[in-house]
Symmetry: D3
Subunit: 287 residues, 6 copies
Amino acid sequence: MFRHTKQLAYKVRVEKPDPTFARALQQAIGGVEGEGRVCLQYLMQGWNFRGPARYKDMLLNTGTEEIGHIEMLATAVALNLEGATEQEQVNGASNPLVGAVMDGGDPRHLLSAGMGAMLSDANGVPFNGSWCVGTGNLAADMHSNVTAEGGGRVLATRLWEMTDDPGMKDMLSFLIARDTMHQNQWMAVLEELKDMGMPAPQDFPQSEEVQDHSYEFFVHSDGEIPDDARWTSGPSVDSHGQFSVRQAEPMGGIPDLAPPEAAPEMHNTIVQAEGGFLRKAKDAITP
Amino acid sequence: MFRHTKQLAYKVRVEKPDPTFARALQQAIGGVEGEGRVCLQYLMQGWNFRGPARYKDMLLNTGTEEIGHIEMLATAVALNLEGATEQEQVNGASNPLVGAVMDGGDPRHLLSAGMGAMLSDANGVPFNGSWCVGTGNLAADMHSNVTAEGGGRVLATRLWEMTDDPGMKDMLSFLIARDTMHQNQWMAVLEELKDMGMPAPQDFPQSEEVQDHSYEFFVHSDGEIPDDARWTSGPSVDSHGQFSVRQAEPMGGIPDLAPPEAAPEMHNTIVQAEGGFLRKAKDAITP
Amino acid sequence: MFRHTKQLAYKVRVEKPDPTFARALQQAIGGVEGEGRVCLQYLMQGWNFRGPARYKDMLLNTGTEEIGHIEMLATAVALNLEGATEQEQVNGASNPLVGAVMDGGDPRHLLSAGMGAMLSDANGVPFNGSWCVGTGNLAADMHSNVTAEGGGRVLATRLWEMTDDPGMKDMLSFLIARDTMHQNQWMAVLEELKDMGMPAPQDFPQSEEVQDHSYEFFVHSDGEIPDDARWTSGPSVDSHGQFSVRQAEPMGGIPDLAPPEAAPEMHNTIVQAEGGFLRKAKDAITP
Amino acid sequence: MFRHTKQLAYKVRVEKPDPTFARALQQAIGGVEGEGRVCLQYLMQGWNFRGPARYKDMLLNTGTEEIGHIEMLATAVALNLEGATEQEQVNGASNPLVGAVMDGGDPRHLLSAGMGAMLSDANGVPFNGSWCVGTGNLAADMHSNVTAEGGGRVLATRLWEMTDDPGMKDMLSFLIARDTMHQNQWMAVLEELKDMGMPAPQDFPQSEEVQDHSYEFFVHSDGEIPDDARWTSGPSVDSHGQFSVRQAEPMGGIPDLAPPEAAPEMHNTIVQAEGGFLRKAKDAITP
Amino acid sequence: MFRHTKQLAYKVRVEKPDPTFARALQQAIGGVEGEGRVCLQYLMQGWNFRGPARYKDMLLNTGTEEIGHIEMLATAVALNLEGATEQEQVNGASNPLVGAVMDGGDPRHLLSAGMGAMLSDANGVPFNGSWCVGTGNLAADMHSNVTAEGGGRVLATRLWEMTDDPGMKDMLSFLIARDTMHQNQWMAVLEELKDMGMPAPQDFPQSEEVQDHSYEFFVHSDGEIPDDARWTSGPSVDSHGQFSVRQAEPMGGIPDLAPPEAAPEMHNTIVQAEGGFLRKAKDAITP
Amino acid sequence: MFRHTKQLAYKVRVEKPDPTFARALQQAIGGVEGEGRVCLQYLMQGWNFRGPARYKDMLLNTGTEEIGHIEMLATAVALNLEGATEQEQVNGASNPLVGAVMDGGDPRHLLSAGMGAMLSDANGVPFNGSWCVGTGNLAADMHSNVTAEGGGRVLATRLWEMTDDPGMKDMLSFLIARDTMHQNQWMAVLEELKDMGMPAPQDFPQSEEVQDHSYEFFVHSDGEIPDDARWTSGPSVDSHGQFSVRQAEPMGGIPDLAPPEAAPEMHNTIVQAEGGFLRKAKDAITP
């Protein structure tokens, strides 16, 4: 069960509203690397988690924290859409806000949300539940969470570079700090797992793999392959094997599917013309 | 900002796990009429709301309550996917759970989520942020919220009919009760608005409408139109007019778009054959 | 079965083509609150409807009317994309139309549709069938239809504010009037239902609800809750109970899922390191 | 503008309701090759069309016909979901319809639509507006329409094979006949265009192409290439060139993008460790 | 199995980077008519193909060629996002690239991809696998492929018109040439099929159609129908019948669905008020 | 540029075709953790990469390898859909394959693909380009790639558990081995980066973070927080700080948005009734 406190997790203030920046902020709300994704990813992982309570608790704590980040960003979007009264008019719009939004902003900020945030990304593409990955395997999920925070922190630093508004820079500096923590936190869980949880899942018997190819880098191109790279020689990261390099050659045959006649009810059967219809036609009409 | 309590908002127990029912429950998590939608719809509406604090608070209170409902349902899905060990094997699957899931359940409950819930509907279609409607207009949004709760309660009653598990029936009875409250609650806000907020938005000057047609039922079919229905005669619900009936006739002309030649760079221009290529061809080859 | 008349349902004319406004109009064609959604929502509800013919007829009549509204809006988009020959060049584009579209318009209006409308919203997000809700329960569906018209009318008024073109303002004034009618019309059906169809569905035995909580407002926040609001005291809107307020407390236990070891074939089992791999590593290399 | 007639375009009757077949029929309503797609594709193409009225009229006529096909199929779905009272119970469901739907049907037919059709495909994936292609170029659009009808007729024949219900077979035989007509009809338009509209668009000056490669089949594999196939030798279908075969060789250089340091505000810059962190760590802890 | 060569299939150079054009190019990568769609459509068709090897080989050859086209376009996007240092600042952005992108470009080119291409269209809508059609029926699939190339070539010509950059024009001239070949190539396969594969599928016994309507143009509108058009009279394109014209009249009855009472567990039953609740209420409060 | 070899990368054989398993395999083709995603993710990252060539080459090599994995899986799907002639009939289907597919398989395998694979997941949800993440920051992208391979290997092990077919088990054993390599390979790149690339991006000046909170675990729940967990005390994984624990308290104020009256053209203004419309109405009609 959850509770809400009216005060925000951190200060959100906007000195100079900017509808274009409001649009950019949407990526951090409803984008694939946004707070909505991490929030629901951690909560779902936490609710589904079947192992030691300390991991479940950790997931739910941080998932709960992230709801408050969406709240901050939604507030920031709403504030960036206010009071654009002095802005020069663009696109011939008689209303300055309308002009500002239609010129680099998200038109649905006005048309659909009435100066509010939406559950979509910087291009107005709706948030999609498929982004919230939870396999039930702790190692795989921790990597997924490090990824989500990595992408999120990259995004936050780019937003920070994009704005000169001190309030927005401060809010983003806080979110960047939290992304730092969360990246470290999920990585720390991996550190508690044998061999950092690699290869995930760890409980599959590696004897059942086609082990000849478990640590070979397959070369499929004419690019130069350095023979001393970390991934081409030396012990594997999971410490179970030795990296090596192999020129890719096909190990399977040519696929052989049953012909369409074997399943006539599919109506895939080809009816070929004798000589080709159009060719005959063209021959006929060509002098 | 938000906080989490480890105890659930209400009891969730499953006496006889049922992967098929787990699939059906997904509709209430990640479906268009599910708790994920109402939760994020209310929270977003609350964060964006610009009017009296009492409405904003109400939205955020109930949005926060709904996070806990997703938590309950995710737990119910996870419990329904456990311990299917005695179940008869179907589809030739050697593992009973696999057989049960592949025969009427959601295969991704095993393949992707490892016996956990996902942010998708009963067909595995991901949750979509476009469902979370918030216009910024209180009346329009309250209607949207009544709709969300109406659809949600209809769904919950159908899930209640579908199961014989006493734990699941109890959980659904609770959710149905909360849907009752929430439908009433959003409707009560409408009651506080003049004319129940109709027509939304109320602050558009109705003098700017083409008022001749504001209260006419247009007949576009040969179906019988009752002349004493609530919507064909008598005062309009918003009390601003009188209902009447009108046979639909076009009031506009035939559209007249500029020809493709006016914008040759679009490459829409048609190059017509003399007489028709194929016809000529066929004529030529037909004896 | 359907028939088409070449004349439009209402006048559509554009005095000063505006590709930016064409983009905004797309929201009313293919957006979640657009005519495409209401059209297909009403038609599908009508075709699926199982009760008295008068409601089925009404749904199909208005659904048919809405096809003509999409037609009007598609025509309006096409007209707004014509003849931008005098417009100043932007973005360095040598073609005025291209410049105008790339600067605030939808690039796919040129690239994909060749100066025509598309079945997508103002951000180019495609129309999505999940928006067309039809539960089969009349009350729930009428609320859904009021919602669709409420959102649609809010959108239409914002489009009306956004343009100075008299032709476009006239067309929108007509569509706003029809939205007024349709909101009233669906609400009028609700009026014919006992207690306005609340709570939907009405035919679920309320004795099966957990009735202690059917009319309680749950407080999940530290926001002030007015004790005299319409939704905190007095009779419920459905007249079946009395509103009251309750501080939210968890009524369920802590969830207890089976451990990963219970289903080893899921490969969720955690393999924990002794002491932590990275910590050991770091200790070793730190002087 | 449109009008509706209550009678269906063709007979729809179901002798033995079959929820599994109802699910399959959904593909013909809301699938990529379904009637919803062709209907809206033709109507949108018609509304956007800028050339001779005869083509615009044709598109709108057939688009209007297709609305009635959706109506027929929605009715067929609803009828297939009725009266499954004698069916054996599956999945332990106490209600026969529920059992039948959960065992091969679409659960949302009950949960969401209350025994009605939805705007989605046979897997419950919602109809998507991106499928409705209209480029504004007549030839390209006619090919798109032939494609839509070809895929639709293939689907209809497979549905016809799947059912033994005489009513359903009859309805599908009608739809198959109409698909025959519509394929022929769009192809007939192509016949009216010079060289069958190929290559679309025809009004692009072919002198601006890199003409050396306009009629060469590029070989990218070790598969055998027949030298007498219609596409490897002889005149091209558009009659503007001669087919030939060419072994693919790269004609471009190796891409050369600016390094991350050129745009430090993107935060793509790599910070490389001396020797590799983990390798050092492992070396240190490995005896 | 596949191999990669580091050199590009054709030259890709950009003289004057243009973030707005980078956005437009995205349509050719991840749009419905883009190279990503044709590439995966041909490969999937090839892998699934069950008939003569020559067609399977052809599909895989051209599918492989198309991967290289995505590579070229992705490179072109990356190059168009570089070095906008001299550009005038727009939208108040202190960084010229940021300003240029936010003013007509795709903000995610910076925010999400760090100056790289994405798998989405010109509006940032992600590539969607539903676009890759492969029915297994050769004729239907060839029409689909002609369509894909037709739409693709129309798009490429519009991109060619949109840019003045000689490098981009050259690259597009190459892609246009390849689209010419591919349109011809798929059409050539159709030529090898009896009656050009029409109606697809050809192996369905036409005696099972409702043949009275297989070659009739149904008139659903008051538009003028030319009686000498290729599609209203004369032999059908598939040469199996004669075109004719028919005024559309319903041939089916009025649909008759079972009432909601027949399935009470669906909770669709209507509970009607005596006289109407609101009307009574209003009557009571109206003086 | 790319080339194709007709032989498969590894053996694909199916001893006992199983349409239900064909459906499950789709998750590995078109699902969020499937080969289609990793393939296009690596290729896009490679094409966009701006740093040392060795990383770009590595990405393109492995991306090219993955195209061959999709090829193997598509072949496996096609083979699993063949020859179900001896299977018992289910769902009353007269055709064994139809019965088998409708009972646990994907109906579109027959209806849409004619016994072939599709670009969608195990529930028929289409592949979505948003899954292919490439930020341009090497560390963030390597984490994303480890995630993709981790999820993919978890999926492959579950598919391996699900089947008894020796051919399918062998194919999956090969894919599992390659996932082992690829997880190790991407992780090995991280090892070459200082502090394993953490926090990504590494080139953002951490002095600009709100550093007080960069290494604090925020407690938002009443769950027990272990004070000696790897993530609550000791050095951070990135070695830049020390972990600690902090009870979450709001650090921001209560949001204060401008009232709707400030932007009347949005039509968000509330028109409140005196006393409440419905309450008055009900008072009037209640005796």
